[in-house]
Point group: C2
Chain length 197, copies 2
């Protein structure tokens, strides 16, 4: 296979992310969001909220990271944040399956490109560098605002309370985007207060 054969084998494979659905419905609640369009939204979030990034964040690298961060779901599917009483998302079994998927999918590409994107995905998962922390925070904030926009979304499905949202989501948003979390809290707290949750 030529390098171009391998580049297009990868680009053909990634099309499948459009069939991976998430717990969050889209803006008008007409259908579930899929992981491909979610990834697009996050890349735009990174561009638009670049002024909120901490020192040391490489926004261009964050955009690339967010474009590829969910590709492993082609093999593993999406594990919703609020599923399994908030415990399923970071389980060891899910992490092992995702690591195997990353090896397979990025392995379709010629090197060094495949290795570069694999390392970028590992950096995102580790959530230690300023860029990964920024990207992870964006990955938590967009579903919150989309749930609010669609009228409740996965908060209704999983009967999420405000303390649960603060623990599972808010703490991770605040880690990379403290100013954004202040803004988002003011926006969404009324939804929970109105329902006694």
């Amino acid at each position: 296979m030529s390098a171009l054969d391998r580049q297009f084998a990868f680009l053909r494979e990634v099309e499948k992310l459009k069939s991976v659905t998430r717990a969050t419905p889209i803006h008008d609640a007409s259908r579930p969001e899929n992981s491909a369009e979610h990834s697009w939204t996050l890349a735009l979030y990174a561009l638009v909220l670049a002024d909120q990034a901490a020192p040391g964040v490489d926004v261009t690298r964050a955009v690339k990271m967010l474009l590829i961060h969910d590709l492993v779901e082609i093999d593993v599917g999406d594990v919703p944040i609020h599923s399994g009483n908030g415990q399923a998302h970071d389980s060891a079994a899910v992490q092992a399956a995702e690591a195997a998927a990353a090896k397979r999918i990025f392995g379709l590409l010629p090197n060094p490109l495949g290795d570069d994107l694999h390392v970028l995905w590992q950096e995102f998962e580790a959530a230690e560098t300023p860029t990964a922390i920024f990207a992870k925070s964006l990955d938590r904030v967009q579903p919150v605002l989309l749930n609010e926009q669609s009228g409740g979304g996965s908060w209704v499905e999983y009967d999420v309370t405000w303390p649960q949202l603060e623990t599972r989501v808010g703490a991770k948003i605040a880690r990379g985007l403290p100013g954004v979390w202040v803004w988002v809290q003011a926006r969404i707290r009324p939804w929970f207060s109105a329902r006694g949750r």
Copy 2:
């Protein structure tokens, strides 16, 4: 409104691109592709095919351009390449409506961010800089490969012939990505030959 209010007003608005459908079905032909997930795919195309870019192409700028290039469709909808006997896509009426949509949508953002993205969209539409030519070529090549992957897609719907594909699509791919067009032709020509088109 604060700057953050305006940033989030824009990010709320862009969610609507997930409801704009295109003529091209997704990989398994189960439903039409939407313009948000299409934009995500193109940003990945730019990263993965960066080695095919001509001298003077700024790949990072191309990624940003591709992320925002279809936002005007929130107001205008998608105009398929092969519709109106291949004439509708670039009509003056569509161009005027898209220009008005760009002004409205990028105008939601605070400046200089809103102006920067508006100028980036105008650069894409003009298709004169090496970066815009690269981005436009990617925007033509992905639907071709996706049609092939799904079994024919919009080529069947619009009864497209090989000479029409060469004129409407191939020439634009070859302008920015001549080596890619050679590869793609070899891949898709058999689909047309087998059908006598």
